[in-house]
Amino acid sequence: MNPPAPAALDRGALPWLFATALATTLPHAEHQPVWLSAATAGALVLAATLWWRGRRLPRGWFLALAVVAGCAGIVVEFRTLFGRDAGVAMLVLFMALKLLELRSLRDAHVTVMLGYFLLLTHYFYSQSIPTGLWLLVSLLIATATLIRLHGGPASPALPTLRYAGLLLLQAAPFMLVLYLLFPRIAGPLWGLPQDAHSARSGLSEQIAPGSIANLVQSADIAFRVRFEGVPPGRDKLYWRGPVLENFDGATWRRRPAPGPEPAIDRQGPTYRYETTLEPHQQAWLLALDAPTTLPANAYLTPTLTAVSREPVRQRQRYAFASAVEHRFNLDEGRETLRRNRLLPGERNPRARWLAAQWLAQDADPERLVGRALALFSGSEFAYTLQPPLLGENPVDDFLFTARRGFCEHYASAFAVLMRAAGVPARVVGGYQGGEPNPVDGYWVIRQSDAHAWAEVWLEKRGWVRVDPTAEVAPARLESGIAAAIPAGEPLPALVQFDADWLKGLRYRWEAANNAWNQYVLGYNPERQREFLSRLGLPDADWRSLVGLLAGACGGVLLAVVAATLYRRPRADPALRLWRRALVRLKRRQVQPAPGETPLALARRLAGQRPDLAPAVAAVAAAYCRARYGPDGDLETLRTAVAELP
């Protein structure tokens, strides 16, 4: 015996499935290979065309061939069938090909489930507010598709969408309860595939001429900071990233070396603040110089950089305290000082010659620093995002020929001059400044605030920050990059624009994003513990949590049941129409006697009010037919009532 034939799909349901497939796969076009998007679009168009013309779906061998070809393409593209990106690509491929196989209700079901699954995969790439909204719309379409599948052709488009909206609205309280109370587990549960975290822009472990200038073109937010109390002045906001001690003549690199913890000598107040770091796939945490209190799971390198034990792969909050006025490492190790005087032997000869001249005139390190800074403050140096290309000896070219550069050129040239003069010096990468958002009080530090500066070690003062950029472009420190860069250079519009209304709008949008990040996306196991302790369950174990969860879900379910099943008592529709007729008759001074039936009223009026009698008789007859007749014909009654004088 054959199994019973699966329920066939009615023709009108297919456009819904096409819409579901389109809505759930479209956002992936942004990051997936072009050929896959093209194949998906092709399958969708083919399926829609076959549907439009009423043609048969392709045969099984065609689909099998398409699956094999698609998988082969994915293997070639991603070198694997597994992993995050390849897995998502497979799902998209299956969704596209399933459209060519929509025969039964079960196929349609699989398509919608695949759609729900695809919705989840979008969050690998973005969890922003727009993504959330788009996915809500997709969810509405997919749910309406399910309703349409089971309602059949008697389910027209608009009421179906409205019904889906109602269901989602009723699902929202469940989501809220589960979101807050479902026991949160800190992931990952198992090893993440290699491509789990896509590369994002940010500081790297090396700085070459042009690398910061490139980064500055991005208005992406690097991190946000909330200060407890008054923040330090803007020109004191140096957020320290990697410290680069190894120089090959053109590029500065980080070369971690073992050493003792840095010794910090506070000279002023400490500032407490919390940073919310966007994932940058590096370990450094970008604390304000010099961090005195670190979050758990972080430590200070010998070069004063706060780093976490794991690369930052999620948006994370870190609480710090920093002493902005400080000295550190007055007793620096010999080996470190030696390392920070090294220069590659044969490159940048003119710079080294200049430094040797200075050294011959005055060997005092502090005055050497002053001389170098005085060189930059001269009128021939310019601060620009578009420096000319530099050759084999970039520092020489910059100092003596081009004289135009960005912060990394100045920091690098300064450090080279110092090393050539025998003063230990190094380059520090990080961010400088930031912008407070008046809407929520958070400071926003963007990639465009990326900066590089230098550090020299001086007897009795330890490592001293020297920022040669301040000499060339003092505005950089006081008001930020937009003020320091000449007009017309390629800065992101977001950073450049100064129109007040636009700025206000941007502040609002970023504050909304920040709230979203802090309260929605940032709801992690710690936040859940905080929330539960505020509920009066400070040490909730999973059992009490499950009990609470079950109780809350039960309450929501009861509310939904009540809202769904409760019906306001309603009169019979025929009776309501009859009452409407009586209201009209009352205006004509006609009222039924107590206990008078419609037909009796009509008979009485036939004698008393010949003007009204025929219309009333028609209404009475239609009412009796609607109320007591076999077919319940309301339409006749409705017209009869409407025709009452």
Binding site: Y116, A171, F174
Partner: protein, 320 residues
């Protein structure tokens, strides 16, 4: 101890005690609900998605999974609502012949301001009947049940189920409308017995009522071969339906259909079949006919009412 389960059973199934002859309103006690196969698939998908969301620490992934779980719950309530409060009133089934399909009519009344879509009725092992009832609407449906044997055919257990709106749950109920349909015996083919002269007009014998040709009508299984218009058949090269000559003036003679006229040795049920065929043929030929069965007798007459009475008598005749 044995009393308690019985009492519990009584309580559980107390609604079944209604006799079903009047309208039945589906209440929560009459409705059962369980996840469908699609619902199980959905739950599995949600579990996998939750694992993914935890593993990749996707806050919105958590939110999506929880929203979908809520959607499932809301869908359950709405699937239940699709049946709850539906009023089912039994109709009046038309009698059929054995071998045909009986249709049991049911009136569905929806007094809710939302439509009830995707309802599926099934009587016994019969075919599924899908239907919708509009908002504040009424609807009549007919449940087909094959009628195998003559006599009363009780409406088998009716299963009303729905998966609307999301298909993740299936809600069902067993409304018990008290409906039965009379099944006449299957008409058998056998030549009509000769008619006897009516008591009042004893002049003509034999083929009274077969003299004045009145026209043709399509052949029925019970028609006598003598009446088939063989010439007309021969003239029709396309092989159309057999035509039977009809004659006027037959009312003058009367015909007794008696099981004694049946050939000897025929089994009783086949005999009732043949008698049924005779009733149909005699009525079609416009003859006055009477029916004699064991213990009952219907005087010769003709017309729709008489035909019905004869068929009812045959349907309900005690097994000889």
């Amino acid at each position: 101890m044995t009393v308690l389960p019985a009492a519990f059973k009584d309580w559980l199934f107390r609604w079944q005690k209604s006799d079903g002859s009047g309208p039945v309103v589906l209440t929560q006690r009459r409705i059962f609900i369980l996840p469908s196969r699609a619902g199980l698939l959905f739950a599995t998908a949600l579990a996998v998605m939750l694992l993914g969301a935890i593993n990749y620490t996707l806050a919105l992934g958590h939110a999506l999974v929880f929203l979908l779980a809520g959607l499932g719950m809301a869908g359950m309530v709405h699937t239940f609502r699709n049946l709850a409060g539906l009023c089912i009133a039994p109709g009046r089934p038309e009698a059929v012949f054995a071998g045909e399909t009986a249709h049991f009519p049911l009136h569905l009344v929806n007094d809710r301001p939302t439509p009830r879509l995707g309802l599926e009725f099934q009587a016994g092992d019969g075919a599924l009947v899908a239907c919708d009832v509009a908002a504040d609407g009424r609807r009549e449906i007919a449940l087909p049940v094959p009628a195998a044997r003559r006599g009363w055919l009780e409406l088998p257990r009716v299963r009303l189920s729905t998966r609307y709106p999301l298909g993740l749950f299936v809600a069902w109920s067993y409304p018990r409308p008290a409906l039965r349909c009379l099944v006449y015996p299957r008409p058998g083919e056998f030549p009509l017995p000769p008619a006897l002269p009516a008591a009042a007009s004893g002049e003509r014998q034999g083929d009274a009522g077969q003299e004045d040709f009145a026209g043709f009508r399509p052949h029925q299984p019970a028609d006598s071969p003598r009446h088939v218009a063989w010439k007309a058949v021969a003239r029709d090269p396309a092989g159309g339906p057999l035509l039977v000559k009809q004659f006027a003036g037959g009312a003058a003679s009367e015909l007794w259909l008696d099981r004694d006229l049946l050939p000897a040795g025929i089994d009783p049920e086949s005999g009732l079949s043949i008698l049924t065929g005779w009733v149909l043929a005699a009525e079609a030929a416009g003859l006055a006919y009477g029916l004699r069965l064991a213990g009952s007798e219907l005087a010769p007459a003709s017309g729709e009412g008489h035909r019905r009475r004869c068929l009812e008598a045959l349907a309900l005749a005690a097994a000889p």
